[in-house]
Symmetry: C2
Subunit: 422 residues, 2 copies
């Protein structure tokens, strides 16, 4: 049996990053750039006003004050979107709106709040302003030829704003992977059917589809393969249109485990089929006609934990994401834990951050069939293979499964009315 | 001018939670339940085997050992999905697969690794097991009539697994809000057009659409309204099909700011139009024919920060999410900050967690037109209205804008091969 790290390495070394596709920026949120983005224009494109006010020559108003304001002649108006054709001379001003280009001759803008307008033609300025006041220089945000993003950057909402700002409607991003999902087992019935004695609902397909979506992939649900070669072969073939195939169930030592032989008959090269961990020891990874195939265990918790440790990093790599793994933190364990040696355990747990410290405690039932344990957990305690005891109050390593819930974050005190929270 | 908290309260008190819609669980990831979910079935539905092995009577093998194994007669096979019709008597066993119902008469399962099978009819057991060994009790995960989720719970991937497990293909969730977005200004051109002198690309519509999507809403882009009553009125009317309308630009003191009057002509009740903060002082909120309307400022940074503070919490409330606000943490400021009094500043910043401590420093350019400042920031330092100085090394309050990047999380040391990261 290989270790978790050996398994991850065996997987990632065989997972290529996907090719690129051209997307409108309105559809590119969360995607990874497959090109460097060079701005062909400066932002702002021309010097413009940061305020509503009057474009002036700063030296003209150097001695103005509330007691003895300086009076300037208004020669034009510059609304946003229009450049005045006139040039400001001594004693002259142009009414200007936020964002409008600075007129020729002006070197500053005095905000409207510091002025008094007596009539259409004249404005009194109550205070001097330095040269450059309220002037946004051309290119102060982005210069011409500046590389604003690099290949591999992930596009958040501010990045989308930037792409729009530099006038890029389309960008090349890494393609999103399509992931075929099939559940195996004679004991499974689909949602909406009535299970007979010995039968249970197919929950793994939906759990995996949700995990695939969360990881940025596009799930393709193939349904249930019964425990016979024909069924398995037929559904596996259906799945080969995808960029990855996930199966759940059918990888333990039982007599009815046909998955490996069926995969082999189709030409699968199996890279490993057992990992030194719990839950999820039986966990196969192969390459079938160039397509990565994960044979995940059938117990719901084992399926989801195996996805987290092995499939999610692979999906991240396919999408060109730099950080393949979930964040890992050190936390103080609130109670002792015991296990047998040999396998590493991933213990479903609740981690929380308070007063500058992470603490963690395991959720109650750790059976690999107990879906509640995954619902309640926000993290996994990493219980090393060679250890049998983790003492209370000791520091342990914890994988954080959810960003926000486990983040060192209190609800905001006094920041908005808590009583209105639904 | 009102404070940020007064503005948030004024908004949230006028934002109702949306109605409910019925979704297939395959489409419900991330949504908020609009019903309690009671399980009508137990999970597991019947006592079943946790292992591949042999269902036995534990007292029959109480004295078995490797030296003197106990031999049992195999009377049937119980593959997953099928219940054996036979009852186990003294000295008998039934071959059983993981997940198969425990046959009548058996009280434990001995795993296949602890047995030797000599022929079709007999198995030798090498070790005793206690009563209940490898037996999953009916209902040990979920009991009949148990409330597995409550109204208001958000559905993660483990929740989807649970809903499938209890056989629920459909659930009621809170409807997703549709958010109309319009940009205002004569200076704007759409992406793909060629800006003339004085013109810039409409970036706010795309920034807001991305923020709406991140917050779980469905953006409806109305395009650009020019600075005239007819255009504004026409687009605002287009937006009233949505559950919320966002405008950007046209809310400052300038002569060309028609938004307020146009909204008023359409029957808008304006609740406030200025907030004591920077960036984003001009920020209007009204109710137009029952629809909440946010008049956001036009500078890209002001638009995005105002969305974060006011629109995002409103969208969370509409969707029934319990935590309306971004997480807030205390961090050590790495350099001094200065400002004028009166307005609260939200300073774009990079927060990081290392060695058990949060630190934060402001990004370089804080102009409200500098999109780069939002791209670089992962957080906002809250610089209180009454203060003018924040000293280096002092503790400051910080709003975390992104879950993962700012989380107290190092890349996993030795957890997977870093060199393979694309």
């Amino acid at each position: 049996m290989i270790s978790v790290e050996e398994a991850q390495e065996a997987i990632l070394s065989r997972i290529p990053t996907m090719g690129r596709e051209r997307l409108h920026i309105g559809d590119a949120l969360g995607r990874v750039l497959a090109e460097d983005v060079i701005s062909l224009r400066p932002i702002p494109p021309w010097a413009n006003s940061a305020m509503d006010g009057y474009a002036i020559r700063s030296r003209d108003i150097a001695h103005s004050s509330e007691e003895s304001p300086c009076t300037l002649r208004i020669i034009d108006e510059a609304p946003a979107g229009f450049e005045s054709a006139k040039t400001i001379g001594p004693g002259e001003a142009i009414r200007i709106m936020t964002g409008a280009p600075i007129p020729k001759g002006a070197d500053a803008v005095v905000m409207v709040e510091l002025t008094v307008r007596d009539n259409d033609d004249e404005v009194r300025v109550l205070k001097p302003v330095p040269e450059g006041e309220a002037v946004r220089r051309s290119g102060e945000d982005v210069g011409v030829g500046e590389k604003v993003f690099s290949l591999g950057n992930r596009l958040g909402s501010a990045s989308i704003a930037m792409l729009a700002g530099v006038g890029r409607p389309y960008v090349y991003v890494v393609q999103g992977p399509r992931v075929a999902i099939l559940s195996t087992g004679d004991e499974l019935v689909e949602l909406g059917e009535e299970p007979g004695v010995g039968q249970i609902f197919n929950s793994n397909s939906y759990a995996l589809a949700a995990q695939v979506r969360e990881a940025g992939g596009d799930p393709l649900l193939l349904g249930i393969a019964r425990d016979n070669t024909e069924d398995l072969e037929s559904l596996l073939k259906d799945g080969l249109v995808a960029d990855m195939v996930l199966t759940s169930g059918g990888v333990s030592v039982g007599d009815f485990d046909l998955l490996k032989s069926t995969l082999g008959d189709l030409g699968n090269e199996m890279h490993f089929w057992k990992v030194r961990m719990k839950p999820g020891k039986p966990m196969a990874f192969g390459t079938l006609q160039g397509c990565p195939v994960f044979g995940l265990p059938g117990n719901p918790v084992s399926t989801m934990v195996s996805f987290e440790l092995f499939v999610r990093p692979a999906l991240m790599k396919m999408q060109g994401v730099a950080g393949l793994y979930r964040p890992q933190i050190a936390a103080r364990l609130l109670h002792p834990l015991h296990k047998s040696p040999e396998r590493r355990h991933y213990v479903r747990a609740v981690a929380s951050f308070k007063d500058g410290e992470w603490t963690v405690n395991a959720v109650e039932s750790q059976g690999s069939n107990i879906i509640h344990s995954m619902v309640r957990a926000n993290s996994l305690i990493v219980f090393p293979e060679f250890k049998t005891d983790l003492e209370a109050e000791s520091q342990v390593q914890v994988l954080i499964l959810e960003g926000e819930s486990a983040l060192g974050a209190q609800p905001l005190p006094g920041e908005g009315p808590g009583s209105l929270v639904a």
